[in-house]
């Protein structure tokens, strides 16, 4: 019906497609799935730890990056084997509900209040945990722009806790100075840089963040930011490679990885302090 020559082009076209079709995935042996937060990944900490992890444990770890709330959900559904996040209250609730069977402290970083260099709310001389609440009050009083993650992440929940300690419910104030992005840390930092707005961020991500615009750290050490690692309950999710997961958690909280966390630097700064160093 059709001359062979005419079919040639069509056949080449199909062959290109066929070659592009991937081999079926291998079942059985699988990599460990670690759900963690943007601050751990974007800071470059994981890239720093990865060579040691491979050399000392031989584990292959697939890292899925989400906000703390979404990362915990991956643990609840059993889609992640290990969860490495930063929201102590949410972590305790996760454990109490039986979604996790083992929880260990890993490290701590700091939350910072970042804002425009011109310091319109006059908060730059405030510092430390006692400075955070007064700083937020001044931002609210002067109605200078503040952007919030608004995504139930660890950073978002920490920000809401700080507002509570300042005695302010920013969402109840109908002013347009408080804006929720509903996005990750990076996207929210980009928005803050474009708007010259304040925001609460975390030292690891901030130190690594490139597109700062006119933003600078106004209140350092506004709040401690502890990270915990949890094993998702293998009794509820039998597919979880429990031995590998425990091996990973033992390694992450072991002496070598803890030292590597303390040694990790970005531009000469140490954004993370290991749990081992905090409680010798």
């Amino acid at each position: 019906m059709v001359a062979p020559r005419r079919q040639l082009g069509w056949l080449v076209f199909l062959a290109v497609f066929a070659l592009a079709t991937p081999a079926p995935p291998a079942y059985g042996e699988r990599a460990l799935i670690l759900a963690t937060t943007t601050s751990v990944d974007n800071s470059g900490l994981l890239d720093h730890l990865r060579p040691q992890l491979a050399a000392q444990t031989g584990l292959e770890v697939h890292v899925v990056v989400r906000g703390t709330g979404a990362a915990l959900r991956l643990g609840v559904s059993g889609d992640a084997d290990v969860v490495f996040v930063h929201d102590r209250a949410a972590e305790d609730a996760f454990m109490a509900a039986g979604h996790g069977v083992l929880r260990r402290d890993v490290m701590t970083s700091d939350f910072l209040i970042v804002g425009p260099r011109s310091d319109p709310a006059n908060i730059a001389q405030l510092t430390g945990p006692t400075g955070a609440a007064p700083a937020l009050r001044r931002i609210a009083e002067t109605e200078t722009l503040f952007v919030s993650r608004g995504d139930s992440s660890g950073t978002h929940n920490a920000e809401l806790a700080l507002w509570r300690s300042a005695g302010i419910d920013p969402r109840a104030l109908a002013g347009s100075w408080y804006r929720e992005t509903g996005s990750g840390m990076g996207a929210t930092l980009n928005i803050a840089a474009a708007l010259d707005a304040h925001l609460l961020t975390e030292s690891g991500t901030w130190t690594k963040f490139a597109n700062r615009g006119a933003l600078t750290v106004l209140v350092a050490n506004a709040l401690a930011n502890p990270y915990g690692v949890m094993l998702v309950n293998p009794a509820r999710h039998p597919h979880i490679p429990e031995a590998d997961a425990r091996k990973f958690i033992d390694w992450l909280t072991g002496a070598d990885a803890q030292r590597a966390i303390d040694e990790f630097t970005i531009d000469g700064q140490h954004p993370f302090r290991s749990a081992a160093a905090a409680s010798p």
Binding site: V2, R6, P25, T38, H62, D79, K208, A210
Partner: protein, 239 residues
């Protein structure tokens, strides 16, 4: 201008350097999207043709639904596939979440309605032209579909490219079901989203330029093939 200049430099450096990680990302992008388009064609061509030629109650509604599905938001498709493939979902036992296979499934769902809906339109037009002839020759339904699809192959090429464009450009679905895992499920669009979140806008834009070049290359190759095939078929007609 500084950012765009830097982005162009980054794009050129990425292409010239043949960096292994970068080539892996490009390769996976092509593998996932081309596979999805291939599967979508296998489903969409016959489905579209059948819908063009069949008469059944509710056909108008089926066509409307199919056309509407062309506008499926990738994030929604990603979410649905995520829930289906999640360990807590009906297909959880397969362990497909956060694999390239999951990404292919999601993109196939996105692309199939485009292929099917546009094929239906092409075949409807061809049927209006040749239907009488085919009927008088006593062609069966299968013969008719095969003949009309073959006759419309140059229009179908454009349809395939439209589907490919949709697949290679979307980020919402692959981000959710793939997880953007380094060296495993990271594709061009999720890498762009990641670099943007790190605030490295020049690198993100550089990757974006590479993505455009890639789409251009795929379109160029298929256009050249189609042109060659068209010339060959005209020569065959003359001979």
């Amino acid at each position: 201008m500084g950012e765009f200049g830097q982005a162009l430099m980054n794009a050129a450096t990425l292409i010239v350097s043949f960096d292994g990680d970068f080539l892996g990302i490009v390769g996976l992008s092509l593998r996932v999207s081309l596979s999805a388009v291939l599967i979508a064609c296998i489903i969409g061509f016959p489905l579209g043709a059948l819908l063009a030629l069949s008469r059944f109650p509710g056909r108008g509604a089926a066509v409307a639904v199919l056309n509407a599905l062309m506008g499926l938001p990738p994030v929604v498709v990603g979410l649905i596939v995520f829930l289906l493939l999640s360990r807590a979902g009906p297909f959880g036992v397969l362990g497909l979440l956060f694999t390239p296979t999951a990404m292919i499934i999601a993109q196939t769902i996105l692309v199939t309605p485009i292929i099917a809906a546009l094929t239906r339109q092409t075949v409807t037009d061809l049927w209006a032209e040749y239907g009488e002839q085919l009927r008088s020759l006593g062609a069966t339904r299968a013969d008719t579909i095969a003949t009309l699809l073959w006759d419309g192959r140059f229009s179908l090429t454009t349809i395939v490219l439209a589907g490919f464009g949709r697949a290679i450009a979307e980020v919402g679905a692959v981000m959710i079901v793939g997880g953007n895992i380094d060296n495993v499920t990271r594709v061009m669009t999720t890498a762009i989203a990641l670099e943007t979140s790190k605030g490295d806008l020049e690198m993100a834009l550089g990757l974006g330029i590479v993505l455009l070049v890639l789409a251009l290359a795929v379109n160029g190759v298929s256009q050249a093939i189609a042109a060659g095939a068209s010339r060959a078929s005209q020569q065959a007609v003359r001979a």
